[in-house]
Symmetry: C2
Subunit: 193 residues, 2 copies
């Protein structure tokens, strides 16, 4: 459960890694968010829908993925505590989503709607700056993934994943890690040993 | 050459697609930029250097790419008139670049340094908002590229590239388009016919 003491609120600590906030400012920011809970296997985003919410995970772990024409699942990324996640293409452009985001564990989340995020960033330069910086880092992570897909061996991609998300290997079934790396479960076992 | 009439300045028109600016605001924005020219084959970014500048192309066309351990070139993206380009990982984190950006034609460019961009976005919410939005679109383009690399056939990736950059096919050697798609020149010829 979230700590109700505003100074220790995990979202406040998270935002203050980039921009400092007064108590009043944080109250204003938080008033734009809602909380929700999802059980394991429930979804945050489903292919075909127009995504209205960006989530910040307070507890749990999710996967984003798409299905190819044969129904095979390709993992795009994982996210866990204190990560932001949504389908940014659908959220920003308000077009139907091409991907899915499902809960791998029971999750507790904060979310902000498209309208509230736009209102908040228009009214508050600090939050525009915060998300601008987060978006830059998101963009860099995607560029690293592209470089890694084009350049690295499976072993190198495995090591990079282990470095980026060390906890993941305890929390996520091996077959999903294999899907993220684009290898078979058997190949993964060889890398893992 | 750039039009000196500020209202018609192409950078102003470009920024005003997202945020409106007064004459005074645009003068302030422009005072943070410098102009430069590069000849065909000169570089904007070289692997190993810490990137200090973000470029906005007023004339010309560039490629960003990396070399694998065998010296084989992999194209990450192209950019031409009115596109922003740099190595965002190196520019944002101020770490050595893993990629190269070279001019495919004689180029005229505006650039802003890391320090000036930070100063400008701190002082001017509108420009923070402008780049936040640009960064979101950059992130979406990268996600589309990842989906496309993982999901689409070469033919589908060729069609997507043709749709995204129709002028590119007139301006860029076919072997570079093949490199972007990750196929041989011969495979490209079959798609092209």
């Amino acid at each position: 459960m979230l700590d109700n003491n505003k100074t220790n609120h995990p979202l406040r600590q998270h935002i203050e890694e980039i921009v400092p906030l007064t108590d009043k400012e944080f109250d204003f920011v938080l008033s734009h968010f809602e909380t929700t809970k999802k059980r394991k296997h429930q979804y945050l985003v489903q292919e075909g829908e127009i995504v209205k919410k960006e989530y910040w995970i307070t507890k749990g772990c999710v996967k984003s993925y798409f299905l190819n024409e044969n129904g095979k699942e390709h993992i795009l990324r994982f996210a866990m505590e204190h990560w932001w996640i949504t389908d940014y293409e659908s959220f920003v452009k308000q077009t139907p989503s091409k991907i899915n985001i499902d809960c791998l564990e029971d999750c507790e989340l904060l979310y902000i709607t498209f309208e509230n995020r736009d209102k908040l960033t228009s009214q508050m330069h600090k939050m525009e700056r915060f998300w601008a910086k987060k978006s830059k880092f998101g963009r860099i992570a995607l560029q690293q993934r592209i470089l890694s897909l084009l350049k690295n061996s499976t072993k190198e991609r495995y090591d990079l994943l282990l470095e980026q998300y060390p906890q993941l290997f305890q929390r996520v079934p091996k077959k999903l890690i294999a899907s993220y790396l684009g290898v078979s479960r058997e190949t993964l076992s060889r890398l893992d040993s």
